[in-house]
Symmetry: C2
Subunit: 217 residues, 2 copies
């Protein structure tokens, strides 16, 4: 599948590398095509990986991962271009973290709004699915790093888009019954507002290789 990964940070590089390993044609997008991280990643990962701007990457893809910093995601997607996102599944893994007040970060948006909803509202033709933002970048593509059963979430307004996203999650190693559909895109509030608890759990347990299993009667 032709997949664009927008963002060249740890999340973007981890997901893009995994997608290449899985045999997908990956275009990785950065603000500028001359990005050092981008060039380095293409050099490491090889022939199936293509670097470019956000616009180049999105235009070349059938499905898009938003792995940019949450505070910059709307600008990055604007640069990618609404036409290049229209009709495509857009998997938003970003967290709207605000580090301007120091640590721990605050959220740039929460409570009556979420980044996932903002992206869907700004790009109504894109089929936005929020997912993977509740685990760190290594666990995203290698859930077996965390022992036992644990869950990952999807939400969005387009049922088929959620199914397509879930298929990719299964390719990443998430068992089908570990993928929980939280509902429409407004459920991104829940997924994003979990981050302050995740950060405290990271502090309490001293590892980012953690996730939650939902236990129920």
């Amino acid at each position: 599948m032709k997949i664009a990964v927008l963002g060249t940070g740890m999340v973007g590089r981890t997901i893009a590398t995994k997608l290449v390993e899985l045999g997908h044609d990956v275009s990785m997008g950065s603000r500028t095509a001359e990005s050092g991280a981008l060039t380095e990643w293409v050099g490491e990962v090889g022939g199936r990986a293509i670097g470019g701007t956000f616009a180049d990457a999105a235009a070349a893809s059938e499905l898009v991962f938003n792995c940019t910093a949450g505070s910059a995601s709307l600008r990055a997607l604007e640069a990618a271009g609404a036409e290049s996102l229209a009709g495509k599944v857009l998997i938003d893994v970003a967290n709207p973290l605000d580090f301007s007040q120091g640590m721990p970060p605050l959220l740039t948006v929460c409570n009556d709004e979420s980044l996932g909803e903002q992206i869907q509202a700004a790009f109504p033709e894109a089929r936005v699915v929020k997912s993977l933002n509740t685990v760190n970048h290594l666990v995203m593509t290698d859930p077996g790093r965390v022992p036992g059963d644990h869950h990952v979430f999807v939400c969005g307004n387009d049922e088929r888009a959620k199914s397509e996203a879930a298929s990719l999650l299964e390719e990443f190693g998430w068992p089908p019954d570990s993928i929980v559909d939280l509902g429409d895109i407004s459920a991104a509030r829940g997924a994003e507002m979990y981050l302050p608890l995740w950060l405290r759990l990271y502090g309490a347990f001293g590892t980012g290789d953690l996730n939650i299993e939902v236990r129920r009667a």
Copy 2:
């Protein structure tokens, strides 16, 4: 132990009833001593249970549970009186839910603040511990309703207060290693901001008898 339970809703009644069963002397507090819910509860639970106003209940206690609605908690604790809270462990199980915009509820406070912190700031002599707000009222006092291992959180600025709260959680049936210390009272942001996710999990799984197990490497 002489324990005050402030709030006569489902959470307060469930916790107060469990405390009576465990042999504690429980004073349940309401806005008015003539509250129907209060009178009914005392009638049901019997001799060891004493009803009264918030002030009566707090004054008679060595430890206080805040089980009032989060949007009314600061007013209720003001009515209880700072003198009657001073030096006491105050276990805050409330969620700052705002139902004024319909369902699902928003939070009245979040992100750079939490109800737990507001209570600690308003009553600096109280030894506030945020806990139990991440599960529903039945699971609070009967964690075995949810099968398997799962976690409950404590946070607060006073280490001994957290230990005392943890002892009560153990009396409720929470195994010692299920109780996770998230840190100081500002971690209440994480515990409270988990609520939007909890509500979506409730929707996804169709039961409120749910909780999370933190899995980690």
